[in-house]
Amino acid sequence: MAKEYLTEENFKKLDEVIEHHQHQQGALMPVLQEAQEIFGCLPIEVQQRISEGIQIPMSDIYGVVTFYSQFSLEPKGEYTISVCMGTACYVRGAKPIVEKIAEMLGIAPGETSADAKFSLVATRCIGACGLAPIMTVNENVYGRLVLEDIPEIVEKYQKEGS
């Protein structure tokens, strides 16, 4: 897939973000967070622009980007399926659920499918333990899941879009 998210327009937005945080102490984290909003991920090209903009060495920026799990060097799929693996969900059977989805999509947790349609994430506790086990597909929430619910939910998204 071409890097079509590295557009002139997005870089312009990034420059505005950098400008806005220019004089803030500890600006790197907010800038990276907003940059990821704009580009969907933080590839080297984006990190380089930030490095020049707020005068922080590339080595430091790369160190920070790879340290925090929410920053991603690669773009995510069209649909991100996040299965909560917090303790409450785990003891109520989240593991077989994540395995079932992995089997259906042919990708392991943390991976994105070759057609860039799905990313599967075994996520940290999202704090909705009353709905355990729970998963989200982009903004949509599916709670109190049983294994039998999974095929229908995944197939729905497989049929949608391209």
Partner: protein
Amino acid sequence: MDLYRSHVLVCGGTGCASSESGRIIDNFNELLIEHGLDKEVKIVKTGCFGLCEAGPVVVVYPEGAFYSMIKVSDVPTIVEEHLLKGRIVTDLLYKDHTTSETMNSIDEVGFYKKQRRVALRNCGVINPESIEEYIAFDGYQALGNVLTEMSPNQVIDIVKRSGLRGRGGGGFPTGTKWEFTQKAVGDLKYVACNADEGDPGAFMDRSVLEGDPHAIVEAMAIAGYAVGASKGFVYVRAEYPIAVKRLQIAIDQAKENGLLGEDIFGTGFNFDMEIRLGAGAFVCGEETALIASIEGKRGMPRVRPPFPAVKGIFDKPTLLNNVETFANIPQIILKGAEWFASIGTEKSKGTKVFALAGKINNTGLLEIPMGTTLREAIYDVGGGIPNGKAFKAVQTGGPSGGCIPAEYLDTPIDYDNLIALGSMMGSGGMIVLDEDNCMVDVARFFLDFTEEESCGKCTPCREGTKRMHELLDKIVDGKGTMDDVAKLETLAKTIKGASLCGLGQTAPNPVLSTLKYFRHEYEAHVLDHKCPAGVCSALLQYLVVPDLCKKCGICAAKCPVNCISGVKGKEVYLIDQDKCIKCGACMDACPFKAIKKG
């Protein structure tokens, strides 16, 4: 101000918002207008009610009718029957799990009876996005009192005398921390709030921020006055979008009303605050790692001393407290140190919020006085274990805590008792495990977590958690030896003693506590090659029970690896254990429940 004859409180916490409470609110508002009731009845979106199991929750006052598991399609019934005709919709009311009794009013619900709400007092009561409602419930009065009538030393004295200890897990005396920061020398000081609630299964800080964000704004301003700081940071997990949004609204409203900013209450005191988001690193809950993260660095802990009170954010003296700790402050100022100290046990004062989850009927948030026993929390408030299963253990303190077995259920909960049992209070996660949970598997689950979240700075934690995880994998796969169990124990003790920060020092707790109380389960995996709870798939066997088998052949047809043999109608089927991949498809397919796992 308009007077309404009825108030409808709809929970807008993360749990209920995930099951469409937003659409329920919209639907209520539309129908009220349709029926011309919008001047008589007010819909209030509140923070978390605590009883997440029953969500989405709707409470109608003045009756206090407690409707649970409400769907959008139930809204017309409530509007037409209850709000229009004054008849409570009995079918939709909350039913007690243990007694199956219908509860008419929220006051009758067992879940709330033993609770005492201090930190959560406004959660589920007021609209968190309205500063007026917070003020109507004595909000900002404590800040007013402090700024106009008290000296910083008097404030610190009250906090010290109250006996409040840090609610983030460590249990350090809060007043002492304030005093250290006040006495530290520096031209600039900061107050910071730790809202990086990373323990899986703990969501009390999120609920306070979602349900009563002004309490945190007020408490941080009070702390700022006491220690001499004019700037505050709140470090929140990015996974909590609703909490971030409501806290920002609260900060903006406080600024508009002159309760934050310059010359607050005309006293010359300045205090401003800002939110910083985390980016998914559990270790950032450790105070020095959190500070590094706010500064824009990798969130790695450093050696203490110097403590943050001396050298914190941008090297300035910094007071760092947890959300729940701050949530207690305004009440302590208003009601006095003696009132707070009268609740709880000798060494642990006040109340503590717990997030009760796992194998429990009433999943949710509860706030109970320190000294309440585990049994009261789990059975009286939590409603016990669902589906008639037997209690096995309660896991407290998240990945840093341990598993406490049934024989210690009558232990009064406080900081010191839990540590004596090999667990800890932590931030207040309380996960209940039943007979179907394998303790070795649970220990492995936590090691998987800490291994991944270890920042990598110190060797005992970075390498040690990995090795422990490998040993646990081996045991769970049925390849472990008793020598491995002994190695696991030695390794655990070394990591505990040699790690740099709290993450590493407590990471072995899940293993040590399960080894202490559930050693027989480890032995069963190693010596008998059996998982007593039937969880570890490598040790499972699927077996056909000959007496129940009707020789229909459905299991053989479903088996993906063709390892079930038999003759339809004539011969009992048999599973070839060498070929079986333990997928369980046969057991699910058998209409006669003739396949057992064991």
